[in-house]
């Protein structure tokens, strides 16, 4: 992380551009005509209800699924991301919700998995030093990098997964629910980390259900609903607007609840007066 990144586009330039991307699983259209842009040095939050297609979109960009139609442009070039390897080579790193760590391997092996230093005689010392340096920079509290992942807690695993995605100096990093399993302090650390990554000129895509986290770090908020674009917001948009876009109605479970609470407190206030 400390060395200068080369080949990063200047801030504000579009790194990733999706045009009319669709994905069908049999008769189900998980994504329909999705348009999205990510610029260098920008955090884009992807929000939506369960089943809105967020994870499918991430998997397409990570090379796990191929889109059924539409184009993906990366640094101005149209690309076909046909395997996870291709995505990594392009510079798209992903932290999946299930973290995708090998529990039988230790932290160092997981960090460098698929990109080991000196493939014909693994440079264990070099990798361990790099691992410690990286984890220190992320202010991560991992007791030992030579213990198998199985012995780590959920938050520690999340940290390892994020550290791994940064190891390859990517241009874009995607985080699928990065704070879902984390405690208060660790969430703040991850948010700090996201900002640090953005300030280095990387594009960040973050998926989260936590509106507070999203508004804390995002520069733009892209709302998906039932596999379609449903508006782009700035972080100063009100909670109500966001929830309306996510659920597809101004009249929804969240607003009804808020109304009820408001009336209740109003009534209470009236009684005591």
């Amino acid at each position: 992380m400390t060395q200068e990144r080369s080949g990063l586009p200047p801030k504000g330039e579009t790194i990733l551009k999706l045009t009319k991307v669709s994905k069908n699983f049999g008769a189900v259209s998980a994504l329909t005509d999705i348009d999205m842009e990510v610029k260098a040095g920008e955090v884009v939050a992807l929000v939506g209800d369960n089943g809105a297609g967020k994870s499918t979109l991430v998997k397409i960009l990570a090379g796990v699924h191929l889109p059924s139609s539409g184009t993906v442009e990366f640094c101005g070039r149209e690309v076909a991301i046909d395997s996870p390897g291709t995505a990594l080579e392009l510079g798209i790193a992903t932290v999946f919700q299930d973290l995708a760590l090998c529990e039988n391997l230790d932290v160092v092996a997981n960090l460098f998995l698929g990109h080991e230093m000196s493939p014909w005689g693994l440079d264990e010392v070099g990798m361990e030093v790099r691992a410690w340096t990286l984890l220190k920079e992320l202010a991560a509290r991992i007791p030992s990098v030579r213990e198998p992942i199985a012995s780590l807690s959920g938050g520690q695993r999340q940290t390892v997964a994020i550290a791994r995605s940064l190891l390859l100096n990517p241009k874009i990093i995607m985080l699928d629910e990065p704070t879902a399993a984390l405690g208060v302090a660790q969430t703040a650390e991850v948010l700090n980390l996201i900002e640090r990554v953005r300030d280095r000129g990387l594009g960040v895509i973050i998926i989260s259900h936590n509106m507070e986290d999203v508004r804390a770090v995002a520069d733009r908020i892209v709302v998906l609903r039932l596999g379609r674009n449903n508006g782009i917001f700035t972080p100063d948009a009100s909670n109500q607007e966001l929830v309306a876009a996510i659920t597809g109605a101004t009249e929804n479970a969240v607003s009804r609840r808020q109304e009820r609470k408001a009336t209740e407190s109003h009534e209470k206030g009236g009684l005591s007066a």
């Binding site: 090998c102 529990e103 039988n104 391997l105 092996a109 693994l122 010392v125 030992s144 030579r146 199985a150």
Partner: protein, 417 residues
């Protein structure tokens, strides 16, 4: 507070977390290994216990059992199935299995007989053809798995029958071909042993390598501010290993000596161990065995890993078959049938390679086959019928798998995967 901070900064890079207990002394190292065993990471313990029990029981029943020449014989026998078992380790690490290694070895031994003795091919040509053919069969299994999603269990079960059929077909109606006794191949399989000085020299090597590598690793780690294991542990381990190997060489040299064929097995084990632990390929094999999807998403070519492991397994099975033909000086319809398959799989599991993938080492084939062969040899000395031998070997396999399962559960509850 500031003193604390200073301490943390001065500590080695991997020693700044105060929650971890470090085992910096010989006693600490012993403590750590007891902890590991308790949490289900058994390592070599089952093999060591097994060997002690087996040798005690059999030497009481028949004193010839521990005689040097009997042990030399045993090592000759170890080499053939041991090499097959080495291939099994590769596929078990992926969490897959190859049930056709017995048939593959039988077919390879038949190919040697037919190509070399009947068709007049040069012996090395025949060996190369058999091994390459074996590797190709492995490639077919891998393609069935990769492209068609056929479980390796079924694909290799089909292969077991098909290869056995091919073996019977190429051997023809006579059913057995004798290999010339004076040929180097048969001499290698039956007679050739290392000179005493060489075996003693080779027995020194592992300890020396251990110390040299350990010192190099230590200086490199100290140079970059990482902690390293204490010298006393390193020297003790090297000394114990060297003493054990020198004694083994000394004892075997009281008989005929150390078989070259066993030397070949050990060499292959060391090569595979290097490949599994020190190369990117090996790391990928463990990753695929631990979490296939995670490996795929890390950019590992999972299909290529499957292909390489199945090819290695079948290729080594073919090589094992050739050596067993050399050992028996014949290619027959019986080669590779019976318990060869299960012995090879059992050896890998007994040695500590998990049936569930992602755990194990090349050494498990070597250690496991020594256990299996000790039992088999002891039972032969007792002149037991093959009915009893099958039952006992079956029981041993069952115990090995039970130990593996229990250890796995214990590891899971102790957070060691």
């Amino acid at each position: 507070m500031s003193a604390d901070m200073n301490k943390a900064q001065n500590a080695a890079l991997d020693r700044s977390d105060e929650r971890v207990r470090h085992n910096d002394t010989l006693l600490g190292a012993a403590k750590a290994s007891i902890d590991r065993i308790r949490s289900g990471d058994l390592g070599m313990l089952p093999v060591a216990l097994g060997l002690i029990i087996i040798s005690t029981v059999f030497s009481i029943l028949n004193p010839v059992y521990l005689a040097p020449n009997n042990l030399v014989n045993m090592l000759f026998d170890c080499a053939t199935v041991g090499i097959i078992s080495l291939g099994i380790v590769c596929v078990l690490l992926l969490g897959e299995i190859d049930l056709s290694v017995g048939s593959m070895s039988g077919l390879a031994s038949a190919m040697i007989g037919v190509l070399w003795v009947n068709q007049g091919f040069p012996v090395y040509g025949a060996i190369a053809i058999a091994v390459v053919f074996g590797a190709m069969i492995g490639a077919v299994y891998a393609q069935l798995y990769n492209r068609l999603g056929m479980p390796s269990f079924i694909a290799t079960l089909a292969g077991l029958l098909a290869l056995l059929g091919l073996q019977l077909y190429i051997l023809g109606p006579t059913g057995s071909i004798n290999l010339p006794y004076a040929s180097p191949l048969v001499r290698f399989g039956q007679i050739l042993v290392m000179p005493a000085w060489l075996s003693h020299g080779l027995a020194l090597l592992p300890g020396l390598v251990m110390i040299v590598m350990g010192l190099r690793m230590r200086s490199r780690r100290l140079a970059v501010n990482l902690s390293s294991s204490p010298l006393s542990t390193l020297i003790t381990r090297a000394a114990v290993l060297t003493l054990a190997l020198e004694f083994a060489a000394f004892y075997l040299n009281k008989g005929r000596g150390v078989p070259w064929m066993f030397g070949l097995l050990v060499a292959l084990v060391i090569i595979l161990n290097y490949a599994l632990t020190r190369t990117k390929w090996g790391r990928s094999v463990f990753a695929v065995g631990g979490n296939k999807e995670a490996a795929r998403r890390s950019g590992i070519n999972v299909r290529a890993i499957y292909t390489s492991c199945f090819m290695l397994c079948s290729g080594l099975a073919a090589l094992g078959g050739i050596l067993s033909a050399a050992r028996l000086a014949s290619s027959s319809q019986q080669a590779g049938t019976g318990d060869v398959n299960l012995n090879a799989i059992a050896a890998a599991v007994i040695g500590g390679t998990s049936l569930f993938g992602g755990r194990g080492s090349a050494y498990s084939a070597l250690l496991g086959i020594i256990v299996i062969q000790s039992i088999s040899n002891g039972l032969t000395l007792l002149n037991l019928s093959s009915s009893l031998r099958y039952m006992i070997t079956g029981g041993v396999l069952a115990i090995a798998v039970i130990v593996d399962s229990l250890a796995r559960q214990s590891r899971a509850s102790n957070g060691r995967a």
